[in-house]
Subunit: 368 residues, 2 copies
C-alpha cells in the first residue's frame, strides 16, 4: 500500500491511497458492504458515484459465506464482483456487541453466532489469516473495542490488551498485499489514548485507526478524542476514524486530520426513509411530502433527484416498496460522495474551514 | 392508439403498438409495476432491457397514493417518472380476490381496502374516469373476473355482466388519449367465450384481452381457451392475455395469436430466488450452488450474469440481502425481454415453430 499526503489545510489533509486493487483519494468515505454487498445498490452504482474503496466485515463474512467459499472463489474480489479496494473491519466491534454471547480471554474471543448460536473463536492471528486469505486490500487488526461508559481501569486494561494483540497481529502477517492498520483505543481518557498512540505507532502498520468512538459517547467526547489522537498519529500514514459518521462528524474529524471514514448511516438511514440533503435531513415519510412534486434536493444530480419527486419517494416508502430502498440509497451514498469530493477540493484549494462553515450553515438551516 | 400487424407466422403475429407516450413492438411482455414501480429495478434498468410498456393497477394506485396525488402530479407518468407506455389493469382481479371483503352488484363492486379495511365502491364508469384522469396509455375496463372452478351458470352470468359493464365503459369514455381494451370472460366454457367474443368485439375498443385465465385452471384449459379465443378476436387489434405467464405459456399463446402479456412471475420469482435461464429454472438457494463460481446463465448478457456467480447470488439470497432482489430481478426481467425479442425475430423470419421447439427443448432439458 502506498499513501501520500498531497495538500494540507490546517490539520486537514488531501491525499492518495493506493492498494493492491486500486486507489482512492482521501479524505474518503467507505460505503459499508457488511456481507460483500452495499445494501440497495449495485457495484455499478457504487463505482459511478465515485467510490473506489468499500468496507466489509470479517465477522460477517466468516459466518456467511465462510472462508472456504470466498477462498475457492479466488478471494473476496472474485467472490463479490467488486474490482476496487476493500477494507475489512476485524469484526471486533460486532463480537463485542454480542455482550453475554461473547467470552474474552488473553488468547482471543469466543463468541456465539448471531445466526445460529454456534460457538466460534477469533484470535488476532486468525483475523489476519482470514484477511490475507480472502485478499482484502486493507485489513484491520482484532482489537478490544472499549465500550462507553467504561471506568479508567477497564479502559486501561482494554487498551493494553489491544496493544498486545496488535503486536501479535504484526507477527502473524505473511504478505504485504494486504495492508494492515492498527487501532488506537483508550476510551475517553486522554492519557490512555496518547499512551496507545505512542506504543502502537512503533509497530510497522500501514495506517492507524481511531477505534472505540461512536459507541454512544457524547459528540463532544468524540470530537475531543479525535482532535487529540489524529494529529499525534504519523503524518505520512492514513488515519481512519472507525464507524463515523454524520456529515458534521466527518467535517469535524477531517479538520482534525482524519483521512478515512465508514458508517452505516447513509445506507441504513436510506432504508429508514431519512435522507441527507444540502439543506438538512429529510424524513421522507412525512405527510407534508404527499404532494411535494419537487426533487428531494435541487442541488443534487443523482439519479433519484434528477428523475423523481419527494411525493413519489414518499409513496414508495409508505408502500414499503423495495424501490424505496434503492432510490434512497442511491441518493444518500451520492450525497456522501459529493460531500467528500467537496471536502477534498476545499483542502486542495486551502479553504476547508470556509467549506465546512458554509456546508454546516446550509445543512443545519432548513432540516425537517 | 395505433396498432399494426407487420408479419405473421401461422397465427403468431409481429406488430407495433403506438400509444400516447411511446411505442412497443409486439408480442410484448409488460413488467408489473403494481404501485407505480417495478419491484427491485429502476426505470433506467427497465428501459435498458428494452421494455417500453409497463403495467400498473387501478385498485392499488387508487388506494395508494390515490387519484388526487397522481392527478396533481400531472398524471401517472409525471408521478412515477416512467416516460413510456403504461397500461393499467382495472383492479377487477384484485377486488374479486378479496372474497368476502367484496360485494358485487349490477352497479359495481363494493370492497374493503386490504390496507385498512376502509370501504370503497368501483363502478365501470369510475375506473374509466380514473384511468383517463391519471393519463394511462391503455386502460382496461372493469370486468367480473370469473374464478376457477365456476359452474356454467355462474360463468354465464358473470360473462354477461362483464358485457354490460363493457358497454357502460365505452359510454363513459371522454378521450382517446387513453385507449381502452375490452375483456373476454366466459370461464372454461367454449360457447360462453365465443358469445363474449362476438358481443364485445362489436364495441369500439382499441384492443381486446382474454381475462379469467391463469386463475388456477389446469394448463390445458388455459391453452384450449386461448387457442379458441385469440384467433377469433379482430386481427387488426392487439390481443392481450392477462396475467400470463411462464415462458411456456407465452410461447403457446403467441402461437395462438396473442400479442401482449403481463405477469408477476419474473419479478416475484426473483424475490423468491427462482431464476429463469435458457436451460431452465434455477432455485438459487440450493446448496449445490454454494461453490458454483460460474454465471447463472452463460448465454445471458444481463448485468447480473456478466458480473456475478451463482455462489454470490446464493450468498445474497440466503443472507436476505436486498441486493439479491435487485440482481435477481434484473436477470429475470432481462430473460423475459430476450425471450420476447427472440419470439419477435422468429415471427418476422417465419420460423416461430422452430424457435418455440428449440427454446422449450433447452428450457425443459436441464432445469433444477
Amino acid at each position: 500500500m502506498e499513501f501520500k499526503v498531497l495538500s494540507t489545510c490546517g490539520e486537514a489533509r488531501y491525499g492518495k491511497l493506493k492498494g493492491t486493487h486500486g486507489e482512492t483519494e482521501t479524505p474518503c468515505f467507505m460505503p459499508v458492504g457488511t456481507l460483500g454487498a452495499v445494501k440497495g445498490v449495485t457495484w455499478k452504482n457504487v463505482k459511478e458515484m465515485g467510490y473506489s474503496l468499500v468496507l466489509s466485515n470479517v465477522y460477517h463474512l466468516y459466518l456467511r459465506p465462510g472462508l472456504e467459499v470466498i477462498e475457492e472463489a479466488g478471494g473476496i474480489h472474485s467472490f463479490t464482483g467488486w474490482k476496487d479496494l476493500i477494507l475489512t473491519d476485524s469484526g471486533g466491534f460486532q463480537v463485542f456487541s454480542l455482550g453475554s454471547l461473547m467470552k474474552l480471554t488473553e488468547e482471543g474471543v469466543e463468541f456465539c453466532s448471531h445466526l445460529d448460536g454456534s460457538k466460534h473463536f477469533f484470535t488476532p492471528e486468525f483475523v489476519i489469516e482470514f484477511e490475507e486469505r480472502i485478499g482484502v486490500d486493507i485489513g484491520m487488526v482484532l482489537d478490544e473495542c472499549t465500550p462507553y461508559p467504561a471506568t479508567y481501569d477497564y479502559a486501561k486494561h482494554s487498551m493494553e490488551r489491544t496493544l498486545r494483540w496488535a503486536k501479535r497481529s504484526i507477527e502473524a502477517r505473511t504478505t504485504d498485499r494486504t495492508a494492515l492498520f492498527g487501532i488506537v483505543q483508550g476510551g475517553v481518557y486522554e492519557d490512555l489514548r496518547l499512551k496507545c498512540v505512542e506504543e502502537i505507532t512503533r509497530l510497522p502498520f500501514e495506517g492507524f485507526a481511531i477505534g472505540g468512538l461512536s459507541v454512544g459517547e457524547p459528540k463532544e467526547e468524540m470530537y475531543r478524542i479525535t482532535r487529540l489522537v489524529a494529529p499525534n498519529l504519523p503524518s505520512d500514514k492514513p488515519r481512519y476514524l472507525m464507524g463515523v459518521g454524520t456529515p458534521e462528524d466527518i467535517l469535524e474529524a477531517v479538520e482534525a486530520g482524519v483521512d478515512m471514514f465508514d458508517c452505516v448511516m447513509p445506507t441504513r438511514n436510506a432504508r429508514n426513509g431519512t435522507l441527507f440533503t444540502s439543506y438538512g435531513k429529510v424524513n421522507i415519510k412525512a405527510a407534508k411530502y404527499k404532494k411535494d412534486f419537487t426533487p428531494l434536493d435541487p442541488n443534487c444530480d443523482c439519479y433519484t433527484c434528477r428523475n423523481f419527486t419527494k411525493a413519489y419517494l414518499r409513496h414508495l416508502y409508505v408502500s414499503r416498496e423495495v424501490n424505496s430502498v434503492i432510490l434512497n440509497t442511491i441518493h444518500n451514498l451520492h450525497f456522501y460522495a459529493k460531500l467528500m469530493e467537496g471536502i477534498r477540493e476545499a483542502i486542495k484549494e486551502g479553504r476547508f474551514a470556509q467549506f465546512k462553515e458554509e456546508f454546516l450553515r446550509k445543512f443545519r438551516g432548513e432540516g425537517s
